[in-house]
Amino acid sequence: MRRLLLALMLFWALPVAAQTPPGEPRVVLPLDPPLAAARPAAAPESPLIAHLSQASAEISTTFSGSSIFVFGTSAVPLGLDGGDIVVVVRGPTDAVTVRRKVRVLGMWFNGPSTRFENVPGFYGVAGTMPAWHVLPEDLRRRYGIGLDALEFQRSGASSGNFREALEELHREQQLWLEDSAPVRVEGNRLFYVRLPLPATVPAGRYGVEVMLVRNQQVIAHQELAFAVERVGTAATIADVSRERPLLYGVMCVLLAAVAGWLGSVLFRRG
């Protein structure tokens, strides 16, 4: 029965494999109109080509931070009197509540709060020059480039420095970075930058936007993406805890009981 299934699968797979051999680029025959049309041949070559060193960063049980390396080339010479590169990395978003402590009866308690929607858990911006230097203010705000250009829908207490606190607390944990390291340029064409991801980065999809700026205008841009994923034991534990909380709780009880009992048996004589 299994052999029959295998043969059936092979029969199905073979014609597909013949069309696109795995791991190899699709061969476009000149006389095949549908495939030829799919190729973006008519578009002009982009003056910007950017790439990431890896497609994912993995949070394992021994994770203590990582980094993402962005590099590429520009057709326009970079540097003085030339173009500039601006790189923006945006992590997954979440709602965040900022609370302020107030003094009641001589003790400090959390008091008024403001809730911000769609706050990126990680945000990093880097450039050959600071973004405010190479882009006009309105353009920079519209594209959300730079920490002060991030705008959020908010609810709750409106007075007080909640927006500033949100920025400061994220900066302190290295989760929001602005020009922490400049984008370096080699030979006027090749650029690269390494952005650190601290141990507390949230898991999820990350977007990377690379922009080529010249004369206060974005003349080319490219969108890249990578994922920060939990892997191994850390991922399994977090998944089970989220999806099967009852089972997870019972497992924790049993594991702790067995570990405590085993430990006391092992060390009693020692």
Binding site: D94, T97, R99, R115, A199, I237, A257
Partner: protein, 302 residues
């Protein structure tokens, strides 16, 4: 060696956690208590979020108490009937406590309320213990005899039940209420409650000392198991990696502590434990009164 805690979502030195486990285990072996009241505040100081510290702390106390329970059970020192009454009360208390905790979390008051609970409970208990042990030390010198069993209003309550092992014929209401209170504190403070349960059983319920430790361990194991499951279902805040690392240090430390504890007199141990409890209460109280470094804090809604 850095280890990533999957639920707390932070990276912590594994040896530091084992060291904390060892220290707390040593003290708990020395004084014969679970040590949860020292563990949860230490985790909070490390920066572990309060819900994770409380839930994982309760889970660790469970593991640390299991071996003691097995040993007491073998010696026949567990009053199961009394234990079940305490546990039923304890589970009701921890269910209320977990709800209360989840509600506090939405208000952002968890850290402050946990600290206040600690200060009030530890402060009053610590002072009581210090006073009682000083009196006991003085009494030993003066050798004043003390009445063994006292009767008061509590013994007039209905629903009387016979507790064979404890040689008591009393109403189930006082032990059940004691259970509820301990369960509530256990859910809010992440402690087993042994340091409160043992005096309550001796002085309030009037149980003989021989069955007190075994029965309280039975109650602690059941209630911390309940808190662990409830916290997992309600908030998903039990970090098993954190629990196991603390347990490794804890079981080793407890053996060393117990060895030293055997050489101290009962009153002296209680006096030292009282001082320790008071010191923790004062430290936490200072943290609440002292002007904070940061006025603002973030919380993520999951």
């Amino acid at each position: 060696m850095q280890v990533y805690l999957p639920i707390a979502e932070m990276s912590v030195n594994a040896f530091l956690l084992m060291g904390i486990g060892f220290g707390v285990g040593w003290l708990s072996g020395l004084f014969g208590v679970g040590g949860g009241f020292l563990l949860t505040p230490s985790l909070l100081l490390l920066g572990v979020p309060a819900p994770v510290a409380v839930a994982s702390g309760a889970n660790q106390v469970l593991g640390a108490s299991v071996s003691g329970l097995i040993a007491q059970w073998r010696r026949g020192n567990v009053d199961w009937v009394m234990g079940i009454v305490l546990v039923v009360g304890g589970l009701i208390g921890s269910a209320i406590g977990t709800q209360f905790f989840a509600w506090l979390r939405t208000l952002g008051l968890v850290d402050a309320v946990v600290a206040i609970f600690y200060i009030v409970v530890l402060g009053s208990l610590g002072s009581l213990m210090v006073m009682e042990s000083v009196r006991a030390i003085l009494r030993r010198r003066a050798s004043v005899p003390r009445r063994l069993h006292q009767h008061f209003w509590m013994h007039g309550l209905p629903l009387k039940l016979r507790f064979r092992k404890s040689r008591l014929f009393i109403s189930v209401i006082p032990p059940a209420l004691v259970g509820v209170v301990i369960g509530l504190l256990s859910a809010v403070m992440g402690v087993g409650g042994g340091f409160m349960l043992v005096p309550a059983m001796i002085y309030l319920i009037g149980m003989p000392t021989s069955v007190v430790i075994g029965t309280s361990l039975f109650q602690i194991v059941c209630v911390t198991a309940g808190v662990t499951v409830l916290a997992s279902v309600q908030m998903g805040s039990v970090d098993i990696v954190l629990t196991l690392l603390l347990l490794i240090g804890g079981v080793v430390g407890a053996q060393f502590g117990a060895a030293l504890g055997g050489r101290l007199r009962g009153e002296e141990t209680r006096f030292l434990l009282g001082l320790l409890v008071l010191a923790v209460a004062l430290l936490l109280g200072w943290g609440l009164v002292e002007a904070p470094d940061r006025l603002f804090s973030l919380s993520f809604d999951k």
